[in-house]
């Protein structure tokens, strides 16, 4: 595992894997979008607006999944001081923030016809909003230092603090939400799903996941090359 994470090794295997990930992403997202728009039936209560779910639910799942990836990478980075893990955490964050934003806006677009308002303090949407702020805080902290390693180290600690806090925040927001019972009957991403809707949803989720893996590999390779470039230029300055 650690041998695979050596920067040079990583460049080798990620270079081979990347095209396959990209192809999988294109196929899964293509098929998923087609099924979501043409094959899946309209919901008997929500009508055609249920098609927003095929974007909302995958981005919601990815928003938490990416945070988990960030937390695991941060733990590896802190324990083994591994540069590739640092880069994985740092490059995940903007993608996670993007998924979270997508989840928030699609939730709002779905909420307007269903709840009659652009924003309802629904437990899930509210947790998602807090998660968005956690991502922004992480990104701001990582970029706030002149020395990149300092930012990565501080970010890793923050990601771990965040991952311990996330369940507590989720629990608090759910509790708060039941205290102030909302009047709406529709729950975002309700518990029961017909099989005809499950398949498109599943494929979209896989498509989003494949997209994340592809972009993460691409961004990590970019960041490693940029780091190498910096090191070479520094050497040249010192030699001169």
């Amino acid at each position: 595992m650690l041998r695979l994470a050596n920067p040079n090794r990583f460049m080798q295997w990620s270079g081979k894997l990347l095209p396959w990930c990209a192809i999988a992403t294109v196929i899964l997202l293509g098929v998923g979008t087609y099924m979501a728009l043409f094959v899946a039936p309209p919901d008997y209560q929500q009508g055609e607006s249920v098609r927003i779910m095929y974007i909302h639910v995958p981005s919601a799942m990815m928003s938490t999944f990416v945070y988990a990836v960030m937390a695991v990478s941060s733990a590896v980075a802190l324990i083994w001081r591994h540069p590739v893990a640092d880069i994985a955490a740092r490059e995940s964050a903007p993608l996670g923030a993007g998924f979270t934003l997508l989840c928030l806006v699609t939730g709002s677009l779905w909420g307007k016809p269903m709840w009659g308002a652009w924003w309802v303090w629904d437990a899930r949407l509210t947790s998602e909003l807090v998660l968005f702020f956690l991502y922004l805080g992480y990104i701001a902290l990582v970029n706030a230092f002149d020395e990149p390693t300092r930012g990565a180290r501080a970010g890793a600690i923050l990601a771990l603090v965040g991952v311990i806090n996330l369940p507590i925040i989720k629990f608090s927001v759910d509790w708060w939400n039941t205290l102030h019972q909302p009047e709406s009957i529709f729950r975002l991403g309700g518990p029961t799903i017909a099989p005809s809707m499950l398949w498109p949803l599943l494929i979209m989720v896989l498509g989003f996941a494949a997209f994340f893996v592809t972009l993460l590999l691409l961004r990590m390779r970019s960041a490693l090359m940029a780091a190498k470039l910096r090191a070479i230029r520094l050497q040249q300055i010192e030699a001169a």
């Binding site: 702020f133 922004l136 600690i157 923050l158 708060w176």
Partner: protein
């Protein structure tokens, strides 16, 4: 006197000598709460309805104010590097600094809160819960804040960054602090909420020192 208490004493003396840390925090707290009736109107029913929320939200902001300096001056004058070499573990020193910080911010906030409740027509039944929830909740604010303060040492725009990092983490304290007061007023009893807050406090005391000390060590590297 134990080294732990000596450190608390040192921070308290420093805070008192520089003067007005506690007074500034309390001043901000009172002034911001006083702004609300101007913003929403002076109707007693409305103010009574939102009193608990206003007092708690403002307390969060006030606690945030003095956080930036928790480690900043020690970091800049080099005391932090000496502290890292002391026989007392850095984790314990973080706890000591948090305790000192709470004594000059959280405690005065807790003592002022009933007065502000009075201004906002808080229901009489809510006062014990207000004091209790502030007494249990404000130490959590100091502890979580210490992690943020340690992480942002030496960062560009540290102050704004610190609020961005710490405020989302304060949400559970806010929720259960307000819920305790409103449950007491509603006749359900504040006990379960206060117990949950206490559980958060225990968790924070157990985990924050390690996170904050790790952050301090990497700041010193």
């Amino acid at each position: 006197m134990s080294p732990f208490l000596r450190l608390v004493g040192r921070d308290l003396r420093l805070a008192l000598r520089q003067g007005g840390d506690a007074a500034m925090v309390v001043g901000f707290f009172v002034l911001t709460v006083v702004l609300f009736p101007f913003g929403v109107g002076p109707e007693p029913e409305l103010l009574q309805r939102i009193a608990a929320g206003i007092v708690w939200v403002t307390a969060l902001l006030a606690a945030l104010l003095s956080l930036e300096r928790l480690f900043q001056s020690d970091y800049e004058d080099g005391s932090l590097e000496v502290m890292a070499l002391l026989p007392l573990p850095l984790e314990a020193q973080v706890l000591a600094k948090c305790l000192a910080h709470w004594l000059v911010t959280g405690l005065p906030l807790t003592l002022t809160a009933p007065l502000l409740g009075l201004l906002l027509h808080l229901d009489t039944a809510g006062y014990p819960a207000l004091i209790a929830s502030m007494a249990i909740g404000t130490p959590i604010l100091s502890l979580l804040g210490a992690v943020g303060a340690a992480l942002t040492l030496g960062a560009r725009k540290g102050g704004v960054l610190l609020s961005l990092l710490v405020l989302p983490l304060y949400i559970p304290v806010l929720i259960f602090g307000v819920a305790a007061i409103e449950a007491e007023i509603g006749g359900f009893g504040a006990r379960p909420h206060l117990l949950l807050l206490a559980a958060f406090l225990v968790l924070a005391v157990g985990m924050v020192p390690f996170a904050a000390a790790a952050a301090l060590r990497q700041a010193l590297e």
